[in-house]
Amino acid sequence: MTIVNFLIGIGIALFGFVLQTSIGGINRKIVGRMQKRHGPRWYQEFLDIFKLLSKRAVSHGWIFDFGVIMALGGIVGTAMFMPLTKDILAFTNNGVNYDNFFIFVYLLAVGMLGMAMSASGSGNPWASIGVMRALTTMLAYEVPFLIVVLTIINYSGQSSLTGIMEFQQMAGNNWFLIAMPLGGIVGFICLMGMLGKKPFETYIAPAEIASGPMVEYGGKQLGMLFILHEISVFIEVSLFVHLFLGGAANIFEFLIKYFAVYTLANLISNVNGRFKIDQVVTFFYKWPLLMAVTQAVIVIYFGWVI
């Protein structure tokens, strides 16, 4: 562990931010074309974020401000552990890679907690409803997702992301998306839930609860929240790429897979309406959970893998 590791980690977080922001902008353009219009410039998301940072901020007490910073710190800290490819990762020591899956699970919670704290600190009822919904949605998608990931960990015998990546690449690019089709589908549905894409966008829902947790944010805090959002999307999509799509041997492969996954999620999101919060929970606890358990049984007890 040297200072170089930290610098690489921050570099990865920064790279994730730039990557996701550009791809988000390109996706806005793609969606625009789908909706019979031109769409914004591809770098529009950068302009939005920097504009927000250039505005004056309104504070609602120190919990409100501190929560945002804590959330941003937590998310950046999480992103620092994320491997981009098999070789590019920040914290490695004599062949031991510190990129265990459970690091991400625990560190992501810091970000979420900070955001929940800050939004509740604003005192707006819409915000507290939004936070309540966000936590409920998280509870809903975490269970099937964790079952699938535990199956993968059980099957490959390790929980390091680079290890899982190598495991998939070794046997002639046998991706877990194909090897465990049910689990792959569940993984993608849960990814949609994590990203807050449309059938599960219940906690943002501008038309119902006025953009939920973000209702009281403006100016600098909202800018930080946007950065936080971009980096957390980067983490979630990268997790999916590494776990189900066989990771990446080089950076271009990673970019292509990343772009494909995010665009697909976005396109599906744009022709769907959103569920109510109770429908989200019942949805996740019905089919995805059943499919995840079936997949786990098939893999663990029968050992059948395509």
């Binding site: 119902e208 744009n270 022709v271 309406g273 109510k276 919060i277």
Partner: protein, 368 residues
């Protein structure tokens, strides 16, 4: 949990128009609610008493913004009833074309508005594109996109421009082919069905209690209670059209009827273009000077089927150059005020915006 107070509007993305729904919620369930109207109050009824009959024509379209033509039609028919005025045959047919286009435009807007509360913005964008084509046709016929001031007392302001029939036919064919797409994106979309099926109910006894008309009534009662059929105005008794109904009024049934009505309106416009006779389109109403003509003493109520229900002007003239009293019966008045007070409670916060949207509540006509 303690009751919490929430405002849906006036500044809220889920609220159409400038009105506010105040809700007291317990958890996710609405316990009490009110509509707070009046943010769009302009004193129309007072303004009309102070203006000449001719001047009023420029004022009235502004009563209901999404569908201004019904105001002109209702005002003109009420005045013609008092005047006992027969207007030229061709004017009736042109009025019908305008009214049906206005209905399609309002339905498309309301149906696209489903995209707001449910989050399917693609539907909204597509619906607005088609609505914009209608506005272009309006601009060709009347010279204005939104406020046409085209239907006047004694006919219509001017004849149809040459070659408009081709434009109308081209647009209608285009729209008709796309109705399937609207169904797929909206009411037949699996994720949206979850939101609109078996929820936001409007049972028959509620219809009679509140006095709901229009699509809400027809979807609940299951009979062809349409002002165009029951009390025909213009030449609606000479065209063939169906009034779609249903016996089970949830949000999906009402939206379904909206799409079916668009189809019927398309048929009506085609028939109008076919059956329309040649001739003059306007007669001079009343007696007196060119502008300051008078209307004799009388009372009249002129109901019109708008996209949201029965819309009418109650008009009293005392023989002067301006109306003595004009009362506006907003089509969404009953469900907007009493409906929100009595029947929004019990639904969830998620449903409130959809409730307002599918009941067809138009705040400017409540406030005037």
């Amino acid at each position: 949990m303690k009751e919490m107070k929430l405002f849906l509007g006036p500044q809220h993305p889920g609220m159409h128009g400038n009105a506010s729904v105040h809700m007291f919620v317990d958890g996710d369930i609405i316990k009490r609610s009110y509509l707070l109207p009046g943010m769009l109050h302009r004193g129309f009824e007072k303004q009309m008493e102070r203006k000449l009959w001719v001047n009023n024509i420029s004022l009235i379209p502004r009563v209901c913004v999404p569908e201004p033509d019904i105001n002109e039609m209702s005002f003109a028919t009420a005045a013609e009833k008092i005047l006992k005025l027969e207007i030229p045959e061709r004017a009736h047919w042109i009025r019908m074309i305008i009214l049906e286009f206005a209905r399609i435009s309002a339905h498309l807007m309301a149906y696209g508005g489903l995209g707001g509360p449910t989050g399917n913005y693609t539907l909204m964008y597509h619906a607005h594109v088609d609505r914009n084509y209608i506005l272009d046709i309006f601009e060709k016929i009347t010279g204005a996109r939104v406020y046409h001031q085209y239907i006047v007392i004694g006919g219509v302001r001017q004849d149809l421009p040459e070659g408009i029939e081709e434009d109308i036919h081209a647009f209608l064919n285009d729209l008709e082919s796309r109705l399937v797409e609207y169904r797929d994106l909206g009411i037949d979309n699996a994720s949206i069905i979850k939101r609109i099926k078996d929820t936001i109910m409007l049972p028959e006894e509620v219809v009679w209690e509140l006095g709901v008309t229009g699509i809400g009534m027809r979807s609940a009662v299951g009979k062809e209670y349409d002002v165009r059929k029951v009390v025909p105005y213009a030449r609606y008794d000479q065209v063939e059209f169906e009034v779609p109904t249903s016996n089970y009024s949830d949000a999906r049934a009402r939206l379904d009827i909206k799409i079916k009505e668009v189809q019927q309106s398309i048929n009506i416009i085609r028939q109008c273009l076919e059956k329309m006779p040649e001739g003059p389109v306007r007669v001079k109403p009343g007696r007196g000077q060119s502008m300051r003509w008078t209307v004799p003493f009388g009372y009249a109520y002129a109901p019109i089927e708008s996209s949201r229900g029965e819309f009418g002007y109650y008009m009293v003239s005392n023989g002067g150059t301006s109306p003595w009293r004009v009362g506006v019966r907003g089509a969404s008045y009953p469900q907007g005020l009493l409906g929100i007070e009595k029947y929004l409670p019990g639904t969830r916060i998620d449903d409130a915006a959809l409730w307002v949207d599918t009941m067809g509540i138009c705040s400017p006509e409540i406030d005037r």
